[in-house]
């Protein structure tokens, strides 16, 4: 019985090794999926430190409950579901905390946004985050899993345990609203 992971091992093979306590397999899995997990978490939270917390929470939950993974979907789909749920939970906890500390103010967009090569990426990210934050949580989660997580409609439906029609509907309304929110600031 093999106890060391190979670089081209599938996620299923790595998980089998992880179940037998192989830390190297866990490292390979972590390196393989950390970036996409972080991207999804960041889009849902908008802050690097919070996104890292969500990634950690997601990996911890996924790996300590690895026996519950029934392989009806890919490990990535399963992991992104957990990470996105952890992100939404962290986001809700954070906003409750911030509300206690200071009264919330509506996010403001700059009205004179211009597209420029020199435009700071961080500014773009902030505006994108503000627009995403204006979406209802289910639409935001669905949209981010599809666009940033790279999941197909079918995979998103499996990840969120939704009918594929609901996923398509959520994506349609999320796109429509985002275009409206971002277009109004993309032109002066």
């Amino acid at each position: 019985m093999r106890l060391r992971p190979q670089p081209d091992d599938s996620d299923g093979e790595l998980l089998a090794l992880v179940r037998r306590g192989c830390t190297e397999a866990l490292d390979v899995l972590f390196h393989r999926h950390r970036d996409v997990a972080y991207r999804v978490a960041y889009r849902l939270l908008g802050r690097e430190a919070d996104a890292l917390d969500a990634v950690q929470e997601g990996f911890l939950n996924a790996l300590t409950h690895v026996k519950d993974f029934r392989q009806h979907c890919t490990f990535r789909t399963w992991l992104l579901r957990i990470v996105s749920n952890a992100s939404l939970d962290l986001g809700r906890a954070r906003s409750r905390r911030e509300k206690r500390l200071a009264p919330a103010e509506p996010a403001e967009f700059e009205s004179n946004f211009v597209l420029d090569d020199e435009l700071d990426h961080s500014e773009l990210r902030e505006r994108l985050h503000a627009a995403l934050a204006a979406l209802p949580a289910p639409q935001r989660q669905t949209f981010v899993l599809h666009v940033d997580g790279g999941l197909s409609y079918h995979d998103v439906a499996e990840a969120l345990d939704l009918p594929i029609g609901t996923v398509m509907s959520r994506l349609f309304y999320a796109r429509k609203r985002l275009k409206l929110l971002l277009a109004s600031h993309a032109t002066p």
């Binding site: 179940r19 306590g21 972590f30 300590t64 597209l115 505006r127 275009k179 993309a186």
Partner: protein
């Protein structure tokens, strides 16, 4: 501030909103990447937190299973060795009976020539009377005239003179 014109490019945000940003557009809005030190700290935390909780620790129970199986096997061997030996029951050997086509029929008693003695007949030429129907359906002579002894018998019945009526008198075999 006037917006510069970029007819050959989309706004990265609009591209994102449409859901299909190109790699270049995606790069423009890419989240800030954590440094490797942060990733490494996270990886170590995961190893510390996850690996001790993994069910793989059950691998340490293998020696217990092996020892248990070995003890059970030894007990079985000892028990089998101490069992009283019971002789094998002899198998009954069925005799190979010849095929009997009349097995389903009742066996008819067949009289042998010595069982009978014909005492007297008027016309010995017609003496083909000791017959019966065999189970197969054919007529079978039980005795022939040379196999029986004929003696003089007093014939009183007038029917005996009728043609095709062979007068016969059967008595028990007197020689027995």
């Amino acid at each position: 501030m006037n917006a510069p014109e970029y007819p050959h490019r989309r706004c990265p945000l609009s591209a994102y909103a449409e859901g299909q940003p190109t790699p270049g557009e995606r790069r423009a809005i890419e989240p800030p990447q954590p440094c490797e030190r942060d990733w490494e700290a996270l990886r170590l935390r995961l190893s510390d937190e996850c690996v001790p909780k993994l069910p793989a620790r059950r691998a340490g129970k293998w020696p217990m299973w092996i020892a248990g199986s070995l003890a059970l096997a030894i007990c079985l061997v000892v028990a089998v060795a101490n069992m009283p030996k019971v002789p094998k029951p002899l198998e009954a050997i069925a005799p190979s009976a010849p095929f009997d086509p009349l097995a389903e029929y009742a066996v008819l008693p067949i009289a042998m020539p010595e069982d009978f003695q014909l005492l007297a007949v008027r016309e010995p030429r017609d003496l083909t009377v000791l017959t019966c129907k065999d189970p197969i359906g054919d007529r079978m002579n039980l005795v022939a005239s040379h196999e029986i002894s004929i003696a003089e018998a007093a014939v009183k019945d007038p029917l005996w003179n009728a043609p095709n009526r062979a007068p016969m008198v059967f008595v028990e075999n007197l020689d027995k």
